[in-house]
């Protein structure tokens, strides 16, 4: 299967995420504002030029930033807005490392920043706003 570290587990692993291939998240307690993810790039994630498709990169950043919000709040939120910049391309076989953190949280929204690297090189950055539902946090 994978050789990800033992403290990483698949995030939201159904539907679209399961179809693309699992994103693994480093396990941390509820309330932790920072999170780390790993994803292995496969041939079906690429564009015709042989680099990661921009849509795939944004999909990974959306899932990762959303999972970071869910970890911090304790319940899933919804993406309201997400802005991504593409600095360089990734290739099949690359292990993508994503880190994200919640920069601000109010009663109704959370602000998140994420970055995606491979072999230490920054490939893409994201900033987003999530609607959060603290009333849905289990007691």
């Amino acid at each position: 299967m994978t050789d990800f570290p033992a403290d990483y587990a698949p995030v939201a692993d159904e539907g679209y995420n399961a179809y693309l291939g699992s994103i693994f998240m480093k396990q941390a307690p509820i309330g932790t504002e920072r999170a780390h993810f790993l994803f292995d790039l496969k041939p079906h994630h690429l564009n015709a030029g042989g680099t990661a498709h921009g849509g795939l990169v944004m999909s990974i950043l959306d899932t990762s930033c959303g999972a970071t919000v869910a970890q911090m709040v304790g319940a899933p939120g919804s993406t309201i807005s997400l802005n991504c910049d593409f600095l360089a391309g990734a290739r099949a076989g690359d292990r993508l490392e994503i880190s994200a953190h919640v920069t601000q949280k109010t009663k109704t929204v959370a602000f998140v920043e994420g970055q995606l690297t491979a072999q230490g090189k920054l490939l893409a950055t994201a900033r987003g706003i999530w609607r959060i539902f603290p009333e849905k946090v289990p007691e």
Binding site: A12, E14, G15, Y16, N17, Y19, L20, P43, H44, H45, L46, N47, A48, G49, H53, G54, G55, L56, M58, S59, I60, D62, T63, G66, P76, S78, T79, I80, S81, L82, N83, C84, D85, F86, G89
Partner: protein
């Protein structure tokens, strides 16, 4: 990315909606999440190349759904990258283009079976950079909006 590439078969065989035909997809990732559909509506102006205004569409199916039972934001962003990229590619004499930046807003939830449609818009083209945007709609109601910045490659 080039006019010489052979289109790839999409992962699912889904018939096009009325008035649309299957969009040729050359990116493996687009074939994997596709099919996408297209039609041309007669229109004059920059970016239309005499081929008419481009409409693009896809059906939200169970591959695109998130844990909350609605369309994953990543799928909408993937469709936006694919369709706004067509504007860049056409305006760059069908040479490759790369996404530099994309800004997206999620206005409402996309549901299983919804047909998502967009008319990708050219905003501005300079010698090496192009701006494109789109409002992605279901039954004429905005679902998702995107603006984008592209680098136009020379060959």
């Amino acid at each position: 990315m080039s006019q010489h590439l052979t289109p790839l078969p999409p992962a699912r065989d889904i018939p096009p909606p009325s008035g649309y035909t299957a969009m040729p997809l050359v990116d493996p990732f687009e074939a994997f999440v596709g099919p996408f559909f297209e039609k041309r509506v007669p229109q004059e102006g920059p970016g239309f190349d005499g081929e008419g205004e481009l409409w693009a569409a896809f059906y939200i199916d169970e591959r695109h759904i998130n844990t909350q039972g609605i369309c994953h934001g990543g799928m909408l962003m993937s469709f936006a990258d694919a369709t706004l990229g067509i504007v860049a590619w056409r305006m760059n004499d069908k040479h490759p283009c790369v996404t530099l930046s994309m800004q997206t807003n999620f206005l409402k939830a996309g549901k299983l079976g919804d047909l998502v449609e967009v008319r990708p818009k050219l905003v501005r083209k300079t010698s090496g950079i192009l701006f494109a945007s789109g409002s992605f709609e279901v039954k004429g109601e905005p679902l998702f909006t995107a603006t984008s910045v592209w680098k136009l490659l020379k060959a």
